[in-house]
């Protein structure tokens, strides 16, 4: 799994490529933590390159969302969610916890 981050004026972008599971999910969590530790809580998670995500990834996103939404200071939104991951997220009822955008541009535009 590969993570690339980028700062925009109104939000941070995290691009995730590859597979997020119990082994790699902590790295995604760290990337979110680093942004939060800078006092930034508006995040776009670009998942266009995501090949696989297990519940470990869902939990990481959930915990990140809790932190970002606290005190209404921000949120994590998802961009380009692949079909298979969306189906699994739907099964667990997690899709209601995130705004989902078809692409990075519209997701960044949310902020």
């Amino acid at each position: 799994m590969e993570i690339v981050t980028q700062k925009f004026k109104h939000c941070d972008l995290i691009i995730v490529k590859g597979r997020v599971d119990s082994y790699t999910a902590p790295k995604l969590g760290e990337a979110i933590d680093i942004i939060n530790n800078e006092g930034r809580y508006k995040i776009v998670l670009d998942l266009s390159g995501l090949e696989f995500m297990s519940s470990a990834g869902f939990r990481t996103m959930l915990m990140g969302q809790r932190t970002c939404k606290r005190y209404n200071r921000g949120e994590i939104v998802l961009a380009s969610l692949p079909k298979r991951t969306q189906e699994a997220l739907d099964l667990t009822g997690f899709t209601t916890l995130f705004k989902i955008f078809p692409d990075q541009v519209s997701a960044v535009g949310n902020f």
């Binding site: 599971d21 119990s22 082994y23 297990s54 519940s55 298979r84 099964l91 009822g93």
Partner: protein, 153 residues
């Protein structure tokens, strides 16, 4: 019925029962997923089915690593893939502690963000993705988890 379809309903001669042993470590989840994916493909599942099987296998293995072996990687996971009529049967055997999946409460799928519980998601997914799930625990010996999914190609 086309000759192709007929073949899928008979026991596919191309399908070979297979068993592999993996060290119980999260870094081996990739290998476990690849292993069951190949079995699913040989069994004739479509892309959605292959993904579902990979995900179920990942969740099952993660549970074994975390709960049966308490994430200390001295244990092994034995994974067997076989056909049983129209079903792919995947069996996970470990020599760890009992992890009693039936005692885990079902996650609340609609509660607000802060009320969502973190645990139990993996097990819930396994039940949603597979048609049958059986768990057996043998005192002092280990656990056997059997997952079955009907082949849809």
């Amino acid at each position: 019925m086309e000759p192709n379809q007929q073949n899928k309903l008979d026991k596919d001669p191309k399908f070979i029962m297979r068993t592999a042993i993996f060290q119980a470590n999260f870094k081996n989840l990739d290998s476990i997923r690849e292993y069951v994916a190949r079995a699913a493909k040989d069994a004739g599942f479509d892309e959605a089915g292959i993904y579902a099987i990979q995900l179920a296998a990942d969740e099952a293995s993660s549970n074994i690593i975390e709960h049966a072996y308490k994430t200390d990687d001295e244990g092994e996971i034995e994974c067997t893939c076989n056909l049983d009529g129209d079903n792919l049967v995947i069996v996970f055997r470990d020599h760890g502690l009992s992890y009693e999946p039936d005692s885990i409460p079902q996650p609340n799928l609609t509660s607000k963000l802060n009320k969502r519980q973190i645990g139990g998601l993996g097990l819930y997914l396994i039940h949603q993705l597979m048609d049958e799930v059986h768990y057996e625990s043998f005192d002092e010996v280990g656990n056997v988890l059997t997952l079955k999914k009907r082949i849809k190609g």
